[in-house]
């Protein structure tokens, strides 16, 4: 029975149709008010997937906030189930007029939907078109829309309301392009009556901020948004709450502000600084009559209005006669707090190291005065220090040499204005000049040796050629010999002398038989000198003891063979 009931219940379970809705809570608003954009999916089993389109006219203050609900109903025995997923965003318009939320593509389950664009009418506050009076809004105002770079401009946020405010939570934008300092930020809002656009409101200053532009040109101050809690009226007599009437939260925002920052003008003498405002400078010394090596204090006090942070006096050049210690810097902000400013005190400890009159020069302060729109230079007065010599100091100079004592009180010599001879710091110790000298020295040393070697080589090469031709030349002489035995022996003698001269590179005309034999001996490996000796002796004797022509011819042939043998080893 129960099983049958459950079966019948399941059979009659009906899922309602899938749908996706994109809605806004209001289509007609006043500037500064927010709207809630809601995407609702009905009966879609998975979470919807979507990305907000680019909305240049709106600022997303919060979201997406997701909620879901499921509703089951029994109607005539049929169970109907409705599930809803809601995504919502808080949007604030950036400008007035007809603004459009573009179409959105929403992926719900397997289906994809495209919403239609939604037009929102944003009317100017206080305009007749609005047709209604804004109950509450916040406003941002600057006291100067066109400040100079570095000049203070004060930004004030004010809340105007006609209804009870239970809470207020602001979200201050980042002030890009400004150095900021908070002037006023009350813990509890102090309400005052004020008329705005002819309507009476309760107004409260939320914040006051001093802005110092750090760049010139157009700078945008983003809108400030706030979540405001408004007490709702009791609708019915029994709407009783232990904590009082309930309150509803709204998101509101200010308008975007545009500041046109003027650059600081140039100055003819070039004495400019980053200091802007209206300043005074004065200086004082603790005492002007002191002893050498005793400390005094020197103060420079700068006060006025402007950004105190930019005031700097640490780069001051004191005379060399003074030993200077790092200054102590003390800043006092302006107690009035309306215009940022105050007093900055620089205090140096100075010790005069030399006796005599020492002058602390005038100290100049260059700043730009935006009220006058020009650069101003103010300076302190010059201080004369009368420094009496210190006996102890005189004693201490005993450690100095006579020359050093004479140098005391002198000043350094002026800078060298000649063109520097630049030198690479990574250069080697031995330069090109040194290497050139070394090379030249080597060349000069080597010159006579080179000359000798060349000469010898030349001689050797010519001698070698002569020696190689010695045998041919000797044979030539022998071959040209006539038939007479005397002539043959004369040619034999001449050919031998010619051979020896060519081989030795000499030009001797006459050799004795002993000399010839000695020379042949020194080069004879086969001991042929004896045969040479016999032939030469026969040649000497031919005049007295006649030799047959045939014998002479034989001797000539023999000499040829002997010369060949000698030449083989020489």
């Amino acid at each position: 029975m129960i099983r049958a009931f459950i079966f019948s219940l399941m059979a009659t379970l009906i899922w309602a149709d899938e749908s996706v809705n994109v809605t806004v809570d209001r289509r007609d608003i006043v500037e500064g008010e927010s709207i809630t954009l809601t995407v609702t999916t009905n009966n879609v089993k998975s979470d919807p997937e979507l990305q907000l389109p680019e909305m240049p006219d709106f600022k997303v203050v919060s979201g997406p906030n997701q909620s879901s609900s499921t509703n089951v109903q029994f109607i005539n025995g049929k169970m109907t189930k409705n599930s809803t997923i809601t995504l919502s965003w808080n949007l604030i318009p950036k400008r007035t007029g007809q603004l459009t939320i573009p179409a959105m593509k929403i992926q719900a389950g397997k289906k994809s939907y495209l919403s239609t664009p939604i037009t929102i009418s944003v009317s100017k506050r206080g305009s007749s078109q609005a047709g209604k009076v804004a109950q509450f809004f916040i406003e941002a105002k600057v006291d100067n829309n066109t400040p100079y770079r570095g000049e203070q401009t004060t930004l004030t946020y004010t809340l105007y309301t006609k209804v009870d405010v239970t809470s207020f939570d602001d979200d201050v934008p980042s002030f890009k392009g400004f150095w900021t300092e908070e002037l006023y930020a009350p813990k509890n809002l102090k309400l005052r009556e004020e008329r705005k656009n002819g309507v009476k409101y309760y107004a409260a200053t939320i914040k006051k901020i001093a802005l110092f532009p750090t760049q010139s040109g157009k700078i945008i101050i983003e809108p400030m948004s706030a979540v405001i809690g408004i007490r709702e009226k009791q609708q019915r007599w029994n709407d009783f709450s232990l904590f009082g009437p309930p309150s509803k939260k709204y998101t509101i925002s200010t308008r975007e502000l545009s500041i046109d920052v003027k650059p600081l003008p140039a100055r003819e003498n070039g004495n400019i600084s980053a200091i802007v405002g209206n300043w005074n400078i004065k200086s004082e010394v603790s005492t002007s009559r002191i002893k050498q090596d005793e400390a005094i204090t020197f103060k420079v006090i700068i006060n006025g209005t402007g950004n105190l942070q930019t005031v700097d006096m640490t780069e001051i050049y004191f005379p060399n006669e003074l030993e200077v210690f790092d200054p102590e810097i003390e800043s006092k902000e302006n107690p009035l707090r309306d215009k940022i400013g105050g007093e900055k005190k620089f205090e140096w400890v100075l010790i005069p190291r030399f006796a005599g009159d020492i002058f602390i020069p005038k100290i100049q302060l260059n700043y730009f005065d935006p009220k006058q729109g020009k650069w101003v230079t103010k300076s302190t007065s010059r201080h004369k220090l009368n420094v009496a010599p210190n006996e102890k100091a005189l004693i201490s100079t005993i450690g100095l040499s006579k020359e050093e004592v004479e140098l005391m009180g002198e000043d350094i010599r002026f800078i060298d204005e000649s063109q520097p001879k630049w030198r690479n710091r990574n250069r080697a110790l031995v330069t090109g000049t040194a290497l050139t000298f070394l090379l030249l020295s080597g060349m000069v040393f080597a010159f006579p040796h080179a000359q000798n070697i060349t000469k010898q080589r030349m001689e050797k090469s010519s001698g070698g050629w002569q020696a190689r031709r010695a045998l041919i030349s000797a044979f030539g002489i022998l071959d040209s010999a006539p038939d007479s035995p005397e002539e043959i022996y004369t040619h034999i003698y001449r050919s031998i002398i010619n051979y020896i001269n060519k081989k030795n590179g000499t030009k001797k005309i006459e050799y004795s038989t002993e000399e010839i034999i000695e020379i042949i001996k020194s080069h004879d490996g086969a001991e042929v000198y004896k045969e040479f000796e016999q032939i030469l002796t026969r040649g000497e004797a031919v005049r007295f003891a006649p030799v047959s022509s045939q014998d002479a011819q034989n001797d000539m042939q023999k000499i040829k063979d002997l010369l060949k043998k000698v030449d083989h080893v020489w």
Partner: protein, 250 residues
Amino acid sequence: MSGNRSLLLLFFIGIPLFAVEEEISQHYKSGMDAYKKGQYDLAIQEFESILSNNWDSPELYYNFGNAFFRSGNTAGAVWAFESCLNLSPTHSDAKYNLKLANLKVIDRMDLPDPPLYLQWYLGLKEQFTPTTWINITLFIFFLFSLSVTVNRLFLFSLVQNLRGVILTIFFMSLFLTFHSIWTDNSLNLGVIYSLKAEVRSEPNTFSTRLFEVHEGLKVSINQLENDWVEIELLDGKTGWISNDQIRLIQ
């Protein structure tokens, strides 16, 4: 063709060199202008940028020293004038200004004067830098080689006598060169660059504090270890200081 190639090579080597020289000349000019206007910190900044490009000159160090002196930086002035004299030992203005800068140095340490002959010898050695000494010695060697060659070729008796004199001068110059190079390499000098430096027995902050030195004092550097430097004073005292408290003389 090869001539054209050589010209092209010279052009490509020469252009970056000229560009570097122009850049450092610009920094130098800006530094000099700043000095004349009394903007000594700006002048120092410009001169430092030349050094960071690895270029220097005696004139740069001298003017650098003046800018340091005027801005009240005694240590910087001593360092710069010492560096100038290291490159140009005969720079009289740098010597004078260094004496004035040294008057402001708190720690005064003087050794007794060396004997006259040593003073004369050291004076001669410090007339020139090691590089100049090498050049001088090699020039004398070149003269000697000329005399030997002329003598060998022409047998001039005058040259033969001169050869002995040149050889003597050569050996003297050679000795001075070696001494100069040895001094330059073995003796690294530095100037205490912080107002006050605590000298410790070991290269760490936990070791015993031996003594104090003050800005502008010239010291020898014996060795380096990590971020610590072992210094030696003129009177022979040694100890360790952090290497950011000292600046090496160039």
